[in-house]
């Protein structure tokens, strides 16, 4: 048992590389900020250090809306060759990484611990995936455990590497707001995704918008802002009459429960449930917490 842990440690140790300020591989944008780290430790595809970077950040506690938006934005960016930077925290950060990886693009996780440590632990699988298909980055030497004050510190790297920081969903006192502030101080652009004003999950982002940060009204807004080609209209999958009806309702109304859909269509659940299920199986809609919404593809 002991030997296995040792072996694993050595395996990770062997993968860790370093880059110092001033070396050609050191991210150029990061070099511009005043308190840039002297040394960066990293695991993964080093060519991502030279890519255009956009950070997608947000709270750890989230709603479906936040999670799906983070995924969609990160996916659209990654598809166009932008490296999506985030902090690998649970919630929005993890969704951003997943979105980028699912789109087959690159993503950079900037950690507040050593690069050999997985925090939070439940993200072990995600970290493996980022190690092999993206980049794990930290200013802390390997073996550094998580500490409270590391995380706001590393946020300056997230915003510093990126030409643009997008805050997807933030509560009132979220670390993502610190990142947004840092980005502004560093002279970088910030966008925020507006949310339901009744919901506590969106107070932080809505406040940013009130203070003058530009709002993201669609994924295309982000692409346009960066001068990237807009998403083309995807061909609608062939749907039956009743499937198309439900598709349109969800496209208009956002997320809905089966009961709401029944009410709108004046239909019985026995008619609606099989259709919802087959739409879900086709990947056109998804569900969470009992509600259905269009899958972001």
């Amino acid at each position: 048992m002991d030997r296995r842990i040792e072996n694993k440690d050595r395996r990770i140790e062997n993968m860790i590389r370093t880059v110092s300020a001033g070396q050609p591989l050191y991210p150029a944008m990061l070099q511009d900020i005043r308190d840039h780290p002297k040394t960066l430790y990293y695991i993964g595809r080093e060519e991502l250090l030279k890519e255009r970077c956009v950070s997608v950040v947000g709270s750890r506690t989230t709603t479906n809306y936040g999670r799906n938006t983070a995924r969609a934005i990160a996916g659209a960016l990654a598809e166009r060759g932008i490296a999506v930077v985030s902090g690998m925290a649970s919630g929005i950060d993890s969704c951003a990484h997943r979105g980028a990886l699912e789109a087959g693009g690159g993503t950079i996780a900037v950690l507040g611990t050593g690069v050999d440590i997985c925090y939070p632990r439940e993200n072990a699988q995600l970290k493996e995936a980022i190690q092999s298909r993206g980049l794990i980055l930290s200013e802390y030497p390997p073996g550094t455990p998580a500490a409270r004050y590391h995380f706001p510190q590393r946020n300056r790297i997230i915003s510093g590497m990126s030409e643009l920081t997008i805050v997807v969903q933030a509560r009132l006192r979220s670390g993502a707001l610190i990142t947004a502030e840092l980005a502004a101080d560093q002279g970088r652009d910030v966008l925020a995704v507006p949310g339901n004003i009744d919901s506590q999950y969106n107070i932080g982002t809505n406040q940013l918008i009130r203070e003058g940060v530009q709002a993201v009204t669609s994924v295309n807004d982000v692409l346009e802002y960066l001068g990237l080609p807009r998403a083309g209209q995807r061909p609608m999958p062939s749907l039956s009459e009743s499937e198309a009806q439900i598709y349109r309702l969800l496209a208009e109304g956002g997320e809905m429960s089966p009961d709401e859909l029944c009410l709108r269509l004046s239909r019985q659940p026995r008619y609606l449930l099989p259709i919802l299920s087959s739409l879900e199986l086709k990947g056109i809609i998804t569900s969470a917490a009992g509600k259905f919404f269009l899958a972001k593809r």
Partner: protein, 511 residues
């Protein structure tokens, strides 16, 4: 001088006839009871002497031996008082009781007859043994009155019983109790506003006898939905009502407040319940909540708050439909054919699914909540459904263009689906779709080519496990039965696939 009269005794909820043999003989005055009688019965020696004398009869100054036949089965209960007392009086007065009359009852020192527990199952066993008339305490007449072909003769005092047998003043037979009253519930599904898809799920669960796990935030109507489940199960048959009332009688729950059972039981035990309280047991084996829910619904609210060992003890009894308790010399069996419904919040604080309020659970708390719901018992629950709060619109404009489905409509459909299952499973060891095991699923839930294709997609797209796959087939079979179809169709599978939780629903992937 020897006297034999009939009474009965109980093992669990099953009665068996017992003959009380009483012998009076010259010798040192003594009173002994033999035949594996428990303390209550042996104490009757002390009670009966004053009771008989206060009733105005003389007590023999002789050697009294009472034997309870069969002598090798343990007997308990205070209902042996009356038969023993009467046998002594009959001997003294020279009365010969008719052979087709039996006696039950506890006596007080003043000669009044007190009610007993288990009067109904005792009476049922006597009826089966060919007894035509039963003399029992007046307070028990209502419950025993549900028996149709036995004369129930309620008495209040020992003297009344003696006068009846001697013929000097016959007791009128008990007639027209509430036992014959039609089934009635004070709740109905039409009282539930919205939640139409949840009602649909309840109907499927009821029709196929599938266990059900409801998840939803606080106050969204889980208990309300569960409480109405008995109203859509098929009407109680006479035999079923006898079974249920027998259990309640043994548990001592029938009395002046509730003399008869009006409908299928709904039991909702508290989270603090012990193993003996839930499955039954104790020093004098009593039916637990599980048996009290026999032929009805056992509802466990906040499943995560129950002791997990108590919950897992439910697994085997629920699968077998009965509880076995080993006691001193015999096995006591309580029936337990229940429909199990459990409810839980999506997380510890309850707001995981709430878009407006913040869920304050940590990752560790979510994981522990999930573990609590994933025991061997809950793993075997077929249907997992999500209950959402009713939309404001439906609360304030109810019935706009639609009438809420009523229990009567739902019950009609459930009955038809059950009829189809009965026809299909006749001659096999299965009774309902919910009770199918792997062999049964392979034999009865046959998939045609389009269905197989659908399940193949589902298997890869929804990461189903083998057990999950079987659950879907069983539910689909019930949906087919509800729709009046002979085989499973792709649409039935599609709907069945809705009754499960994704990892996101239980907070496994908050990100």
């Amino acid at each position: 001088m020897l006297m034999k009269i009939q009474t009965a005794s109980l093992t669990g909820v099953e009665g068996y006839p017992v003959t009380v043999e009483t012998d009076l003989r010259r010798g040192m005055p003594d009173f002994s009871v033999v035949g594996l009688a428990d303390t209550t019965i042996r104490e009757s020696c002390k009670r009966l002497r004053p009771a008989i004398m206060n009733s105005g009869y003389s007590f023999p100054n002789e050697r009294i031996t009472v034997n309870l036949v069969p002598a090798d089965r343990p007997k308990e209960g205070s209902h042996f008082d009356l038969p023993i007392a009467l046998s002594i009086i009959f001997l003294m007065e020279g009365i010969v009781p008719p052979g087709d009359t039996a006696f039950l009852g506890e006596v007080s020192l003043d000669g009044t007859v007190n009610p007993v527990q288990g009067a109904l199952p005792l009476a049922i066993s006597l009826r089966a043994a060919g007894i035509r008339s039963i003399i029992l305490p007046a307070e028990n007449a209502e419950e025993a009155g549900i028996l149709r072909d036995v004369r129930i003769l309620p008495v209040k005092t020992i003297r009344q019983a003696v006068d009846h047998i001697s013929g000097s003043r016959p007791v009128p037979a008990f007639r027209g109790g509430q036992g014959q009253a039609p089934e009635a519930y004070d709740v109905d599904y039409s009282q539930v506003i919205g939640q139409e898809s949840a009602k649909r799920a309840m109907m499927i669960a009821a029709a196929g006898n599938h266990g059900m796990l409801m998840m939803g935030g606080p106050g969204c109507g889980k208990t309300m939905l569960a409480r109405r489940l008995p109203t859509i199960l098929p009407p109680l048959s006479y035999e079923e009502r006898l079974e249920i009332m027998g259990i309640y009688s043994v548990a001592g729950l029938l009395g002046p407040g509730m003399p008869v059972i009006k409908g299928r039981p709904f039991r909702s035990p508290h989270q603090s319940i012990t193993m003996a309280g839930l499955v039954g047991g104790g020093a004098r084996a009593k039916p637990g909540e599980l048996s009290l829910a026999h032929r009805g619904v056992l509802f466990l609210d906040e499943l995560g708050e129950f002791d997990s060992r108590v919950i897992d003890a439910l697994r085997q009894p629920v699968e077998e439909g009965l509880v076995r308790i080993m006691r001193r010399q015999e096995e006591v069996i309580f029936p337990a054919r229940v429909m199990v419904v459990v409810a839980s919040n999506p997380c510890k604080c309850g707001y995981l699914w709430d878009e407006k309020r913040i869920c304050t659970c940590t990752g560790g708390q979510l994981a522990s909540h999930r573990r609590r719901l994933a025991g061997p018992f809950s793993d075997r629950i077929d249907m997992h459904i999500k209950i959402l709060p009713v939309a404001e619109k439906e609360i304030f404009a109810p019935g706009e263009g639609r009438k809420p489905v009523s229990s009567e409509d739902m019950r009609r459909q459930v009955c038809l689906a059950m009829q189809r299952q009965e026809d299909r499973y006749r001659g096999s060891r299965y009774r309902s779709n919910g009770g199918l095991d792997e062999t049964g699923i392979r034999r009865f839930c046959v998939l045609d080519e389009p269905c197989r294709k659908k399940m193949k997609e589902a298997f890869s797209g929804m990461d189903l496990t083998m057990r999950g796959y079987h659950k879907v087939l069983k539910i689909a079979m019930t949906i087919a039965d509800l729709e009046g179809k002979d085989g499973i169709e792709p649409d039935h599978l599609s709907e069945a696939l809705m009754y499960r939780f994704s990892e996101e629903d239980i907070g496994k992937r908050r990100s």
